[in-house]
């Protein structure tokens, strides 16, 4: 096993820049690691060996020619299969897009290529990013490197597991209700959901358009910030993209790493620090709060009374948007077509295609959304959920008048055993209890390791005001300076 795979992205970039190793050597080390462990972890749906080595060679050639390259040039990255990659399979974890090779790159992937990062392949996910365990992937579940019998979180469990298994130093995720942060928490890695509109959705296969946010995953806060800086910023191809520069998240992470939080006021969310979470998670969280106090932060309790309605509101808003977005999978322009025998009508073929191509959770959400948007139910369900969304936003606004950032455990429970929650969909939804409010509000949130409970990782979530992403990186890096990075047992 090459020692290169245990290095951070920051370290790898410095070694490549200093000529102590090459991008090709780094890439090969990670490809070897994937070959050695991914039959057990199953983080990847597709490994692009040739594409990765070609990209690495290009970086080495540009470096040899004396070109000035970016801060992450030559660093491998794993990309969640929700983002389109030109000529490289993109399935969203669904049978309905099996074998699809998109004719264009998403903006995030384009920026990764332009920055000289090396894409290793596409990572596993719950189908259409709907789930909290990757067990809803049509291609089989990913396993948590901390305990292969447990889930790696979801929907971005593949990206998080790839980091924890040292298959990649960086990864991309997408977060609609917690799909970056919850996998980060249960795999002992770092996952950041940027401000909605701070990262482009162009080429991100849509689930819930008003909530979907692509973002960085890494093993350290600084690495996540560097990746955030590369992928973030305005994109004219996404009309909801915010036309402002990315806050200086890298400087904030470096400042936080000094371990000084003097003058920073943090709010513990009352509603998320008591009932609803496992005792081990709460104990690790309390220890982290204590550590933050020692770093100079002022800690107060803040009540956000409408947060308890975030989960129900989310499970009306997200399915409603999904039922509309997923109408595009009609067996006409891309993906699967089922039952086209020359006699059946378009509508019959469409219904057979969608029944064969979508898994149970996707079908549940499409039908739930169709129900919530039906005339007669619209006001009581979708309309009411949108009003609750306003009240949750007001809770955040009021909280940020008192404190700089809010903190809570990232998820109520540590990685659970495979199969423990698949028979009861609502039990699965509870994994996102603490992450969902941020999505409804649109602000940034980050999960950073804060300790172990029964030998499994626990994450602390920092939530900041819209376009104050730098603030959460500072707090997360400060906590990391005390807790350190978590190392899973050898695979």
């Amino acid at each position: 096993m090459s020692e290169l795979i245990k290095k951070t992205a920051t370290e790898i970039a410095a070694l490549v820049a200093g000529g102590e190793t090459s991008a090709v050597e780094v890439t090969q080390a990670h490809l070897d690691r994937i070959a050695a462990v991914d039959d057990r972890v199953r983080a990847f749906l597709h490994v692009d060996t040739e594409g990765a080595l070609a990209a690495a060679r290009a970086v080495d050639e540009r470096r040899a020619a004396g070109e000035q390259l970016g801060p992450l040039a030559g660093v491998p990255v794993a990309v969640k299969d929700v983002l389109t990659t030109k000529g490289v399979p993109t399935t969203v974890g669904s049978k309905i897009l099996q074998g699809w090779r998109p004719p264009y790159d998403s903006t995030i992937v384009r920026r990764l290529r332009d920055a000289g990062t090396v894409m290793l392949g596409k990572t596993n996910m719950d189908e259409f990013a709907m789930g909290s365990s990757t067990e809803y992937s049509a291609y089989g579940a990913t396993h948590n490197p901390w305990d292969l019998g447990r889930i790696p979180g979801g929907s971005g469990g593949g990206s998080a597991a790839a980091l924890a298994a040292y298959e990649a130093p960086l990864a991309i995720g997408s977060d609609t209700g917690g799909s970056i942060r919850q996998p980060g928490a249960v795999t002992g890695t770092v996952g950041a959901k940027p401000t909605y509109g701070g990262t482009s959705r162009y080429g991100l296969v849509a689930f819930s358009s008003s909530l979907d946010t692509p973002g960085p995953c890494a093993r350290t806060v600084l690495d996540a910030a560097l990746l955030h800086q590369v992928i973030g910023g305005h994109d004219p191809r996404d009309s909801t993209s915010i036309p402002q520069p990315v806050p200086d998240v890298v400087a904030a992470a470096k400042r936080g790493a000094t371990g000084d939080l003097t003058g920073v006021k943090l709010g513990v969310v009352t509603e998320f620090s008591g009932e609803g979470a496992e005792p081990g998670v709460l104990a690790a969280f309390r220890d982290a709060v204590e550590a933050l106090t020692k770093l100079g932060a002022e800690i107060v309790e803040v009540s956000c009374p409408h947060f308890r309605y975030a989960l129900p509101a989310y499970y009306l808003i997200a399915p409603s948007e999904c039922s509309s977005n997923l109408a595009r999978f009609d067996g006409v322009r891309f993906g699967l077509r089922e039952g086209d025998d020359g006699n059946r009508s378009l509508e019959e073929v469409m219904s057979l295609t969608r029944d064969a191509g979508f898994g149970p959770e996707v079908k549940r959400r499409i039908m739930l959304g169709t129900y919530a948007l039906s005339s007669g139910y619209y006001d009581a369900y979708y309309g009411q959920a949108q009003k609750v969304r306003t009240l949750i936003t007001r809770d955040f606004t009021a909280a940020f008048e008192q404190v700089d950032a809010l903190i809570s455990p990232t998820t109520p429970f540590v990685a659970f055993e495979m199969g423990a929650r698949t028979s009861d969909p609502y039990q699965m939804y509870l994994a996102d209890l603490f992450t969902i409010p941020t999505n409804l509000y649109g602000g940034p949130g980050i999960s950073v390791p804060c300790g172990l409970a029964d030998g499994l990782p626990v994450g602390l979530q920092v939530m900041a005001p819209t376009m104050a992403d730098d603030r959460m990186y500072r707090v997360a890096a400060a906590l990391e300076s005390v807790v350190g990075t978590l190392t899973p047992p050898a695979l």
Partner: protein, 101 residues
């Protein structure tokens, strides 16, 4: 009382263009009932005077200069199609035989 009946789920499946089996209907009816009972909690919130939020970013129309930029070629646009013919997506028949004739 159940929040949703098996017949209503069958109707939703039709609206959603999902050819679900009888067995799937049984499973989904029970599960959707549990989910709907839980999400109905939003009704507890007094929100009559509260404006709805559809989006966290204040949205206005985003316009650009009307200039031609490179796009996909027909071959690229059709590259993922299950069936194509003469630079078009080929689809199953849309009209009934008797109407079409």
């Amino acid at each position: 009382m159940a929040a949703i009946s098996r017949e209503e789920v069958a109707h939703l499946a039709r609206l959603s263009r999902l050819a679900v089996t009888e067995e799937e209907l049984d499973t989904f009816a029970g599960q959707l009932d549990v989910i709907l009972q839980a999400v109905a909690q939003v009704g507890e919130v007094a929100a009559a005077d509260i404006p709805p939020t559809s989006h966290s970013v204040p949205l206005t129309n985003v316009l650009r200069e009307d200039v031609v930029v490179p796009g996909l070629t027909p071959a690229e646009a059709l590259s993922g199609a299950p069936d194509a013919e003469e630079q078009r997506f080929r689809v199953p028949r849309i009209l009934d035989e008797d109407v079409a004739s």
